[in-house]
């Protein structure tokens, strides 16, 4: 099965294949024989071809956290459907999703108001940092889902523009 792993902003198509006793990583049209051995306590010994290294790795939902050679990496997984349908252009986007959990500090528009791309719709605060939710395109505000002081989770639908 085809997966897309996002590492440092780069989306990489990968596939795991089993051949006889070995596992093969297919990426970039190349095959590499891989092996993984759990050492306990989230530590693993990972072998790619002849190179072998210890690392820490933990999976949480669609994310992997990997600590390798003193560096911390995050691998975000997407399956092919997510990857193929995820690329909605801003023009088609209807709703602004919260980039992180937080609370609403200000709502600068009202439903029915016409807004220009870039105009501030809402200000949210998370971990003492304020983020402005700006209009991603010209349009008419049709729904505001939170009031000042409300808190919300990551990906919450904050505000909607008419289609």
């Amino acid at each position: 099965m085809r997966s897309f792993y996002n590492i440092a902003g780069q989306s990489i198509e990968v596939e795991l294949l089993r051949r006889a006793a070995s596992q093969l990583l297919i990426y970039n049209g190349e095959e590499s024989t891989i092996a993984i051995k759990a050492l306990g306590d989230d530590e693993y010994r990972v072998t790619v071809e002849d190179q072998s290294t210890s690392l820490f790795a933990i999976q949480q939902g669609d994310q992997f956290f990997i600590h390798l050679n003193g560096n911390n990496y995050q691998v975000d997984c997407e399956d092919e459907m997510q990857s193929a349908s995820g690329a909605l252009s801003d023009e088609d986007k209807v709703v602004a999703n919260a980039p992180m959990p937080g609370t609403v500090v200000a709502v600068n528009v009202t439903a029915g108001q016409t807004v220009k791309s870039g105009e501030s719709l809402m200000v949210i605060e998370s971990m003492k940092m304020e983020t402005t939710i700006a209009a991603w395109r010209d349009g008419v505000v049709c729904k505001i889902n939170f009031c000042v002081g409300d808190s919300f989770d990551r990906q919450a639908e904050l505000i909607q523009l008419e289609e």
């Binding site: 990968v14 795991l16 089993r18 693993y44 820490f56 790795a57 609370t103 971990m127």
Partner: protein, 492 residues
């Protein structure tokens, strides 16, 4: 004066743990207040007693003086250690405690009030002829504020009188922008501190941030514990601090430290405090502000002086005299602190959130890791993004630096994005190695601080680890039937 019998810690996170540890060493029982968000924190596990507090928001719970006073009454604590932040520099709170006959482990309400207001602190320093950056205060004559500011000449820095932590600060390089920047600073001041008063000062290019740790007892002894350099900042937030400063020579060091002692003495200061200075490229220095509390970065001072600052605070609050005289306080080696934050340096320091899935601190000589985090704890958006502090000590700066690098590499903190790799990159920059620091260092070197491209071998290892653990892939891969799997990507 009453003896301290039991101390309530009006704080959370790593500083709560830090204070509890000293209290244990001094055989003083500890009480920790906590909001439900912190239920699983390390402080709650380590304190002798815990009292849950409530509020509209988690922060509101910690800054409600009544919550603390009630908790003191409930637990019988007769002293409060405020840590840093929250109520630590709130003079009304300190007065309130005095009324309740609860000992505040810190300076008096008056001094907090004097130093807590930038304008009054500044007036005090001018009055006593301490060095101050040329500046004008709006309140002196609001109508002529902009005009007076212009007279100082650009670059200028506009600050909110009640400000701190970089909020309400504006740099003006173009005189034409002065008016609009004044308004923006005022609105931020109003928004964050409920106080729109401003002042304006000469902006010093490539300044260093040097601060001096002060300890004063009620017997009139006032000593300094040498300086710290905190020039590595982003958005006015300190990122890496070290002691001693790599730039000061012995003469400068003595002068700046003595100035800080003189200031504290003049103010009749008691307990621990920090005088912050701006050091210009020409070696001149100016008073910036005085922090009337324990600082986040106090461990670097503890490493080079061998003193326990929290213990000294408690001694002073208990009416005892300081444990050491100035002559006994010598600099031993060099210490560096790295603040580990829940943020993504590659995404404009956007705060990150998530559970702490794995936490493994680095080990070895000269390494100290102060944190209030526990594995399994969820880092939310309610508090400050600081997860912990990694402090290392070496016989010289380079050893301390190398030790920090090693310790950062060995620190395993997984489950959310942190700045650990970013800190490593700072410590590896030539300019950092040479000690050529200033408060805009991170902006100047932002291009060099970008992460390196991940090399092919590393990428393969990461992908190999991820596919091996990905349940979708594990079930998916078993599905390729033979002989197709073995034939591979063959085409006829």
């Amino acid at each position: 004066m009453a003896q301290i019998k039991k101390v309530l810690i009006a704080n959370r996170g790593e500083i709560a743990v830090r204070i509890i540890r000293t209290l244990k060493e001094m055989n003083i029982p500890s009480v920790l207040i906590y909001h439900a968000e912190d239920h699983f924190s390390q402080g709650v596990r380590e304190a002798d007693e815990c009292i849950e507090i409530f509020g509209d928001t988690p922060v509101a719970a910690y800054i409600d003086p009544q919550n603390i006073i009630n908790a003191c009454h409930k637990s019988g604590a007769n002293a409060v250690h405020p840590g840093y932040g929250f109520l630590s520099e709130n003079s009304a709170f300190v007065s309130h405690l005095e009324e309740e006959e609860i000992i505040f482990i810190g300076p008096s309400a008056e001094i907090i009030k004097l130093m807590g207001d930038k304008i009054s602190a500044r007036s005090f320093m001018i009055k006593h002829q301490f060095p101050i950056v040329p500046s004008v205060v709006e309140e002196d004559d609001p109508a002529s504020f902009a005009e007076r500011a212009r007279e100082i000449g650009v670059p200028l820095l506009i600050k909110a009188a009640a400000g701190g932590g970089g909020k309400g600060m504006r740099i003006v390089r173009d005189p034409a922008e002065l008016d609009s920047q004044i308004e923006q600073a005022r609105s931020e001041g109003l928004r964050y501190f409920g106080d729109g008063r401003l002042f304006c000062e000469r902006y010093i290019e490539r300044p260093r941030h040097i601060e001096v740790q002060i300890l004063a007892d009620r017997q009139g002894n006032c000593v300094h514990l040498w300086e710290r350099e905190c020039s590595i900042q982003r958005r006015f937030q300190k990122v890496i601090e070290e002691a001693p400063s790599p730039t000061l020579n012995d003469e400068q060091r003595k002068e700046i430290c003595q100035t800080a002692v003189d200031m504290a003495t003049k103010a009749g200061y008691s307990n621990a405090g920090t005088v912050e200075f701006i050091l210009a490229q020409d070696g001149s220095f100016y008073f910036l502000e005085m922090n009337t509390r324990i600082q986040v970065e106090h461990p670097v001072t503890e490493f080079i002086t061998g003193m326990d600052l929290v213990a000294e605070q408690i001694r002073v609050a208990n009416g005892e005299s300081l444990s050491k005289t100035q002559a006994e306080i010598q600099i031993n080696g060099h210490a560096i602190e790295c603040r580990i934050n829940a943020e993504d340096p590659d995404q404009n320091f956007m705060p990150s959130l998530g559970p702490v899935l794995k936490l493994r601190a680095a080990q070895g000589a000269g390494i100290r890791f102060d944190t209030g985090l526990q594995e399994g704890q969820k880092v939310g958006s309610a508090f400050d993004p600081m997860l912990g502090k990694l402090i290392t000590h070496g016989s010289n700066r380079d050893q301390a630096r190398r030790r920090s690098l090693r310790a950062l590499r060995e620190t395993v903190l997984m489950g959310l994005t942190t700045n650990i790799n970013f800190l490593q990159r700072i410590l590896e920059l030539d300019a950092f190695i040479e000690g050529d620091l200033h408060t805009h260092f991170l902006e100047e070197f932002s291009a060099q601080l970008e992460p390196d491209e991940i090399d092919e071998d590393t990428l393969k290892l990461l992908l190999a680890a991820a596919v091996s653990m990905d349940p979708q892939q594990q079930s998916g891969s078993a599905e390729i039937p033979e002989p197709y799997a073995s034939i591979g990507s063959w085409r006829n």
